[in-house]
Symmetry: C2
């Protein structure tokens, strides 16, 4: 953080300082829609080897920046590295998603969990961060990340992806104290994990709450948001111009942005179901906003993409505080040329919205 970045648009937007253009990056920008990613993954053999080999994680992290004029890199990793380090045995199966060999199924399973040692069990992540920072130089900022406690817990309880989340949600009503114990251990682990990433050099951190939106409004606050607040509070983000901004993203959290904005985060990620301009008004500029083009727009063509990008930019309106992104991760069957069209459209069409950049 002592080296001045050549492209600091992302950091400036997150701090709501003037920018020349709206910065843009894409959730899952290092991913299967890129042929070069698929080649590296094939070389790695499987997904977790890709995550656990710093050279390969670094390589795929940088691939999208070689192709597109992106304003940030995001660490290539997975939100489930923490439970994997806790001994749950993570496998990520193509087209089936993550699977745990040892899901948490009983009171005993949860009681025996403890926070992993970041410097040993998750050292590969910190090594990847250090390597990426070295390779990336001062070209653009690097975003580190973690899953939210609730989101990670759903996978640990369900044993993998789920449609109804019956076990995970059921636990909140059947055994709330046990659920809180699990979420506590995860929160502490995530604080250590993100602080480790910050120490290793990430410029921004993001908390992905992919499944907060499946909870009732009360349960969201009790079982997801309160733990994310605890995490934001526990991060060593530094001060002033050298601070590490924190982005909070709950998919499906559009009804709860007021509460989320009070968490102490610097920015909220918002999905495509909200009108980003309406959210900006609701929050009165208290935090920056990141989002929120529907990924499905990328199935169309450059002309339609420009039109939909223009709508999001116009909805947000004039001034800084906007980081352009999709409303969720890019799909594997998107044409990379359409991503190039998106990135270029954001830069080009956003200039008129920034006069003080």
């Amino acid at each position: 953080m002592s080296v001045k970045l050549i492209n600091d648009r992302l950091l400036r937007a997150l701090r709501r300082q003037p920018v020349d253009m709206t910065p843009v990056w894409i959730m899952r920008q290092a991913g299967r829609y890129l042929p070069e990613y698929r080649a590296t993954r094939k070389q790695a053999g499987d997904f977790m080897t890709l995550c656990k080999t710093p050279e390969l994680a670094c390589k795929v992290t940088l691939q999208p920046l070689q192709r597109f004029n992106l304003d940030a890199a995001i660490l290539f990793s997975d939100i489930l590295t923490i439970p994997d380090a806790m001994g749950l045995g993570l496998r990520v199966v193509e087209n089936q998603g993550p699977q745990f060999a040892h899901p948490v199924q009983s009171r005993e399973d949860i009681q025996k969990l403890s926070a992993p040692d970041i410097d040993t069990d998750l050292r590969y992540v910190m090594d990847a961060v250090r390597l990426i920072k070295r390779e990336l130089g001062n070209k653009a900022p690097l975003i580190g990340f973690a899953g939210s406690p609730w989101t990670i817990a759903t996978y640990m309880i369900e044993g993998g992806s789920s449609k109804q989340f019956s076990r995970a949600k059921g636990m909140l009503y059947e055994q709330p104290a046990l659920a809180h114990r699990l979420l506590e251990v995860l929160s502490q682990s995530i604080i250590d994990y993100l602080n480790g990433q910050i120490e290793a050099g990430v410029d921004v951190v993001m908390i992905f709450d992919s499944w907060g939106g499946i909870l009732s409004h009360d349960a969201y606050k009790e079982f997801s948001l309160s733990y994310m607040e605890q995490i934001v509070d526990g991060l060593d983000t530094g001060d002033g111009e050298n601070n590490v901004p924190v982005i909070l993203f709950t998919k499906g959290g559009g009804l709860w942005v007021e509460a989320m904005a009070k968490s102490g985060c610097d920015a909220l990620g918002v999905d495509w179901t909200v009108d980003i301009g309406a959210v900006r008004k609701r929050l009165g500029g208290r935090v920056a906003l990141q989002g929120n083009l529907d990924t499905a727009v990328l199935y169309s063509d450059p002309m339609m993409i420009r039109k939909e990008v223009a709508k999001v930019l116009a909805s947000y309106g004039e001034g800084s505080g906007h980081v352009f992104n999709l409303g969720h991760g890019i799909h594997p069957d998107i044409d990379p040329d359409n991503v190039a069209a998106l990135v270029d459209a954001v830069h080009e069409l956003s200039e008129p919205f920034h006069s003080g950049g």
Copy 2:
């Protein structure tokens, strides 16, 4: 509708007239969580035979009312009867959901679609309604229903259930005119279908927009809500005390209730992610509200169920205009005794909220 119902709580609540207790029914109340349903389904052989045999559809429709003090019956059927009648060849596979033998995949597939003839192709539904009304007598009202055009379209395009809805959502941006053509045919079909159900005797109709919530705010209005408005407008619901109230339900539509309430419907179904009292305030009592306990609460025990029921009732507050329900369909692995606890809790705990009943 000329016969006065013994239990007219549902109708009174939908019309925002005083009631003695809050009426309650449960989405998918005739379903796999009931052993008697599973027995009848086994007897039918498969799901579509169950739908298409009026005697069996009638039998499973009435089963939950024999067990629980429910305030309404809902026609046992499926939201995909219309595309099945259009010739897409519907199969509903246990644990896998619906599958079409002939999904719509090309411009030609969509152009050749036409509205099914309600009196022949979907006669089995109207026969089931007439039979249920005869068997049910004046004990309680019968709810008829249809899927929303957008929701039905997703299954027709994807060929079944989907996680990302890439094809269906992609079409909205790739070929919007074609998507509109499909939604037009479906809307006309649904108007005919629901008018047929009304003529056959249903007391209330509900439109299930299960997948409106996956759309962007603009796309929701253009591709889902506008067609539901067209349907509400086209229904022969009658006037005054003998009208047939219309309930509109978009799962994940909590951000859009103001727009939905302007559709001309009598009530909105709301899912568990909203605070029902907050929605009531946002709408200023313009429509009745139906919902919104999280189904996951039913995994717990009667004491927790009472506590969570009390929270929903208190959130809605005093007066009529509330129909208690879950926030979405009940899951197949719920204990029926917990459903009994829910229904009884709603009646018992809601009395203090009604003084003019």
